[in-house]
């Protein structure tokens, strides 16, 4: 994967998001204190938000170029998004949610309903209403729904933050399996050092809208956490 972010300037309330970076790792951790602009950056990449200035290119395809007034609409970007609460469609069943974005390719890839539900172990949930799922089940369904749209890039915005420590430990392996089984590049926002180390190759640190550090996750992040990066250590969250 090669995601080019250039000349990104987006005024946010107390500061301006200013990003120039190229992401090449399979899984990149996007970390930083709360309110640093992480979700805004994801929204720009997904095309959910527009900036006065931005150039975004994914694997050679220009998605946003404000200089040439080019903007690929969100629906054509093929960028999956798993927000914090999962944002499942409450009026649909689990199956309805999963099928919403299912792309049937001419050459069936790894993203079939059977394969994804098997890897994430959500087969038994298919007929259920979304309101009857636990937090961990919701996040697995949200992840499966995003995967089934055959994304070229997956954005995960603190997907485990609403879960308790035990549940996190159970869901994390699913994310690792999703990574190894489907090979979709990911940008993973988290406040948990352990998650970042378990999943990510590289890390970028965002602070008040600017990248203050970028490099291999193993070098930037230590299991005990880095409070200045908004990262908590491996101890159970309270």
């Amino acid at each position: 994967m090669r995601l080019v972010l250039e000349k990104i300037r987006l005024p946010l309330a107390p500061f301006t998001l200013e990003v120039d970076a190229t992401l090449t790792a399979d899984v990149t951790a996007l970390v930083g204190p709360s309110g640093a602009g992480k979700t805004s950056l994801l929204d720009l990449i997904a095309g959910l938000r527009r900036a006065p200035s931005a150039f975004i290119e994914l694997d050679g395809r220009t998605l946003t170029d404000t200089g040439r007034r080019a903007e690929v609409p969100t629906r054509e970007r093929r960028i999956g998004y798993v927000p914090q609460d999962g944002a499942l469609f409450p009026h649909l069943t689990v199956r309805g949610n999963l099928l919403y974005g299912l792309r049937r390719e001419r050459e069936p890839g790894p993203f079939t309903l059977e394969h994804v539900t098997e890897v994430l172990e959500i087969g038994p949930l298919l007929g259920r209403g979304v309101g009857h799922l636990s937090g961990g089940e919701k996040q697995r369904v949200a992840l499966a729904r995003a995967l089934l749209s055959s994304p070229r890039l997956l954005l995960l915005d603190e997907p485990l933050s609403g879960l308790d420590w035990k549940l996190k430990a159970r869901i994390l392996p699913y994310l690792q399996r999703a990574r190894s089984e489907f090979g979709v590049p990911m940008i993973y926002v988290t406040h948990q050092a352990g998650e970042a180390l378990a999943l990510c190759d590289e890390a970028i640190v965002l602070e008040r809208g600017r990248i203050v550090d970028q490099g291999p996750a193993a070098q930037l992040i230590v299991p005990t956490g880095r409070p200045e990066y908004g990262l908590r250590g491996g101890a159970p969250a309270t």
Partner: protein
Amino acid sequence: MSAAEWQIVGFSVGVAALATLLILPPGLGLAWLLARRRWRGKALAETLVALPLVMPPVATGLILLKLLGRRGPAGRFLHDLNLDVVFTWRGVVTAMAVMSFPLLVRGARVAFEEVDPRLEQIARTLGAGDARVFLTITLPLALRGILGGTLLAFARALGEFGATILVAGNIPGRTSTISLAIYQRVQLGQDAEAFRLLAVAAAIAFLAVWTSEWFLRRGARR
């Protein structure tokens, strides 16, 4: 109840339902625009839409009469098309539609605003275009609120008096609605007939508001 009274009840329910159906497409469209888009003239549109709620209905009726009368700017054109509005059933429908439009728009707007925009955004990331997002996410999630607003608009249309009497008069068998007929019966001292119509009006209104409340409650719970 006499055959004439049943005719009045049937006619009233029919034109009120027609008026409600007619305002649904523009009402939902406007409600969505007010809830989801920023545009020039939005504040003005909001005010104009709310006007019939706060203006005396008779005054609204007078405006409609001047617009739609045979010498009015719209009325002349409609007369050429053989679609006279004033003092016909079309006048009743028009008065009802104008008077209940604000209620529908308000109800639907609140319903649209209560749909989490994040869900619509996620649907876009899954490959859905504007129409699909509206039809499969926004509309179903707002449906109960919209149904509640629609029933309120229908009830308001059914009770419409002030604008209707100016635009459509009270022609027995042609433009006489329950409200107009009750007024006329009371004027003529036919209290028993007036009370029978009153009972029917109260029953229909009760049912409409009760169902509407039920929808709105169910919508809020979700």
